[in-house]
Symmetry: C2
Subunit: 247 residues, 2 copies
């Protein structure tokens, strides 16, 4: 779904670093641009060194193993959120964690920190695969920063990290009758929010107590039993909207 601005239609490449006025692409990026996309001299592309800016370059030459690009202009990418939202999703079975990473990347999340807890069935995940998913989704949705993907951590390490945030949304499926509204926790003026979503089997009683003992209130996402991946995607969208990122 491209926009009116012409630069939105240019291909986007994340690179380690750029040089001005000329940057040389090699390896996979070179292959992709030359062999898959069949780019030509004079075509323009966007290079993103993951610094929040888009750098427009024009292709000036093809060599056997490299493509030479010439710098044209740069600007701050407008798609990044002001909100720094970190999502802690419990690992899910099959390719569900990948689905979560793809959707959260589109929704503007800055960091994804998967964890395992007592009822987690899927005990490990290829971090490289999640990073690739975040990379691809960032290109596709026009971001200039790829969300950071942490290594899978244990429940205790996850919960210790929550002290760093202005607001902590602990999504809990039994919260409907005795829990809090998401607006009780997220006021809309936070800059640093954490969202935690448990695995398919939910959190154990002990884990729930651990959240509550540390002052993190269980938050309801409505009356139905959401699948874990639906909970992550839905709560992320709602937090973004509440914090003004849909304005």
């Amino acid at each position: 779904m491209a926009g009116d601005n012409d630069t939105e239609k240019l291909r986007r490449f994340f690179v380690e670093k750029i040089n001005k006025p000329t940057t040389v692409l090699t390896g996979n990026e070179k292959k992709h641009l030359a062999d898959v996309l069949r780019a030509k001299v004079g075509d323009k592309i966007i290079l993103c060194p993951n610094d929040g800016k888009d750098y427009i370059f024009e292709i000036s030459a093809f060599d056997k193993n490299s493509i030479t690009l010439y710098y044209e202009e740069e600007f701050v990418n407008p798609t990044e959120t002001n909100l720094f939202l970190t999502v802690f999703p419990a690992l899910l079975k099959g390719d569900k964690t990948e689905l979560v990473v793809q959707k959260l990347t589109e929704l503007g999340v800055k960091r994804i920190s998967p964890f395992i807890s007592e009822f987690t069935v899927q005990k490990s995940e290829k971090n490289d695969r999640l990073k690739r998913t975040a990379h691809e989704a960032s290109k596709q949705c026009g971001r200039a920063i790829i969300p950071e993907i942490d290594d899978v951590m244990k429940f205790n390490d996850m919960i210790n990290k929550l002290a760093d945030y202005d607001a902590v949304v602990f999504a809990y499926e039994d919260a409907f009758t005795n829990g809090n509204r998401i607006t009780d926790v997220v006021k809309g003026n936070e800059r640093n929010v954490a969202l935690i979503v448990g695995p398919e089997g939910g959190f154990s009683k002990k884990e729930v107590e651990e959240f509550i003992n540390r002052g993190y209130k269980p938050v309801t996402l409505g009356k139905r039993i959401l699948r874990a991946e639906t909970a992550s995607i839905s709560a992320t969208a709602v937090i973004m909207q509440l914090c003004g990122e849909w304005s």
Copy 2:
């Protein structure tokens, strides 16, 4: 993610109708209960005749081709929303429309009305398959009403239906710079809301004009280019939260 209430853990079966005090299950439901779930005499299940209520029955006898159930009690299922949200998603490629139907069912949508528009690539969809997905998702998330799935309709038929709603959320990817916030359209006190999400390629200029001519404002879902299925799921979650369904 089951709750504290014991009835939440009972198996849920949607049936054409129930009889009191005895209902007889045959066909697939009988097979599923007997052969797959290996239910026993004395087990309790929930029957849902799609009227918003849960009816608890106890298995009293197995026969070769049927299972006889005895009525115990009934109550209004607590998971249904007060909001009547209809989502009009353009048909999507592959199994994306099924993903949308599954997630919207979990989120409490009452009706899903797929349509094709100028840029829709996928031109048809097996309505039966979408109905089965809605059925399965309703069972899984504890609903007592399966969302209605309409036959695929044309753009013009879709847009003609919008006059029936209190609020119309026309999600449009170019709305960020010149569009409206979702809270400009959804005030939170509506009972009858429509959400429209275009296909992968978006709406044509002519289609966008048609919405605007009829007074439906383009609404932004943030600054990034959301995939169509992400837009449907995210906007549904936000509308539910704005209308008090996460309270």
